[in-house]
Amino acid sequence: MKRMINTVQPFYIFQLMLLMLSGCMKDKITKTYQIRTPVYEVLSQFRESIKSQPAAEMSATGKIAVAGNYIFISELYKGIHVIDNSDPSHPKNASFINVPGNEDLAIINNTLYADAFGDLVTFDITDPLHAEAKNFAANVFPDHSIYYYSGADNVNPDSINVIIGWTVRDTTVDYEPGGSVYPVYYAANCANCATIAANLSSSVNTGNSGTSGSLSRFAILNDYLYAVSYSQLRSFDISNKFSPSYKNSFTVDWHVETIYPFKGKLFVGTNNGVYMYDAAASPSNPTPLGAFTHVRGCDPVVADDDYAYVTINDSSACLGFNNELQIVNVKDLNAPSLVQSYQLTHPVGLSKDGNLLFVCDSKDGLKIYNADNVNNLQLIRQMKDGEAVDVIAMNGLAIMIAADGLYQYDYSDINNIHLISKL
């Protein structure tokens, strides 16, 4: 043993030296990430791209509106699909209107109104396959705006830059795990790249306007377009249809979600309830009527002469916990009262045609009720074809937008409701 110790003694020294050297050992840790520099285009140039294009694949569909033989479906933040529905059993994805930032739409006669981030774009859809942008109302939805600096008055499209893309390059920096080196995404001035959150919709209407889904945030009533977002209800005079004129804005409630026009009245759905307004007497500044508050939740609403039908769901965006259909007596709009509640799975959009009530119940599909007796709805049929989101039912045809596309059902014979097409 002693011999071994003596023999390896020089090696102890070697190891000791190594140990001392260990203080010189440094780890080299680097982080490589992307720097993204926005590519800008002048807004006036950018607007030239807002027009009809060849049909595009539907992927993140949102709001839906029907006008004549055409169905218009919003592709979230990208534009609007135009579906030729001359033959509902064979609908054709006919064209796509490029509208960056679009969430909502509303139609009257040959005019389509759509939001494009903070702007309101008016299209002539005399030929729906060749929609032509006729007017841009700048920054009328400032809470959705990304082009304009907050509170700025300058909305001159020739002096405003819009991000149209990004150049990406890798960069490498020293990094210490647990440190605070985070990716830098904007190398250039992007002060007006405010984030927007919500998802909006389109609407039902009167007169010659198209028919929109219950998730709509746009509504046309007589010569006025109403738009809700977050807490505001805004009115636009559209008597000159291609040149909407912003009129008024006022606060409804926080988390406003949908608006539904019916016989001169506006039903505004919020996280907390349904607020009713009379738009007949003073269309630019609707008069508040009653309100029906409920448990917190997302709540599209439709109405008829006597009742409002409200779905409440527990989407995380609405911070709710309930999933139900509520029927509210609105015979006296100043004193609405709950008539009945029905538990559902995750109800979203709905539609009413005569005594038939159509409710999109997400993965449970489309549920069709006989609503003759609101105290005791009778389920006539449940169509479990897709994850139902919103529906427009009229003239024996239920047009339903689902997570995976567009479904159409023939309900002209309520004893034989059947799927006639899926796009």
Binding site: K26, K28, T32, V39, P177
Partner: protein
């Protein structure tokens, strides 16, 4: 590259075991040896435990074999490597120089998993070692080896869950989301080992 290393290592292991089975046949000049080390890694991040076993064949003063280990410096890894060593000296006790090269397989610890974002991934990296040692012969079949070396390992972490920072609705943004980032770990350590060879 990794595939080529694997093939080399597989051939070496095959050769080692072939000769192990033929040790008593005089025509075979190769001898099977197994070297089993425990060690201490010292580096910028502190000390860490190290364990390895190397099995291979000796031909005169040269030895080559395949090794596998456990390396817990910063991130736990399993190095799988090829070892080559040369002995010097005419006495039964030998000075030796050796080098290892191979692949470092990441083996997540609970604390590492918690630290990473859900879409983070750790890629396997390189493992290398260069060192010197002293082999003290206890008897005809067994020796003790003291060694010191420079040890190097790399890892690459990819991912990063910064998707929510990206204004995804802006034109052109979707094509780049989710955001990718890469963290390269080049870890330099001193490794002191003691082992048994038989």
């Amino acid at each position: 590259m990794y595939r080529r290393n694997f093939i080399i290592i597989a051939v070496m292991i095959f050769a080692a075991f072939s000769c192990f089975g033929q040790q008593k046949i005089s025509m075979c000049h190769f001898q099977f040896h197994s070297i089993n080390n425990v060690g201490l890694l010292e580096g910028q991040a502190g000390s860490a435990f190290h364990l390895q076993t190397i099995n291979g064949v000796q031909y005169k003063s040269w030895f080559t074999g395949a090794g596998v280990g456990l390396d817990s410096y910063r991130y736990r890894t399993i190095p799988l490597f090829l070892d080559i060593r040369k002995e010097f000296g005419k006495t039964p006790n030998k000075i030796l120089l050796f080098g290892d090269a191979g692949i470092n397989f990441y083996w997540a610890r609970d604390r590492d998993v918690k630290q990473f974002y859900s879409n983070d991934k750790i890629k396997n990296g390189f493992y290398g070692e260069l060192g010197a040692g002293y082999k003290f012969r206890l008897n005809a079949k067994m020796s003790i080896i003291f060694s010191g070396s420079y040890s190097y390992k790399t890892l690459e972490e990819t991912g990063g869950d910064y998707y929510y920072n990206m204004p995804f609705f802006l034109p052109g943004a979707a094509a780049y989301s989710p955001v990718a980032e890469r963290i390269h770990y080049n870890l330099n350590r001193v490794l002191l080992k003691v082992g048994v060879e038989f």
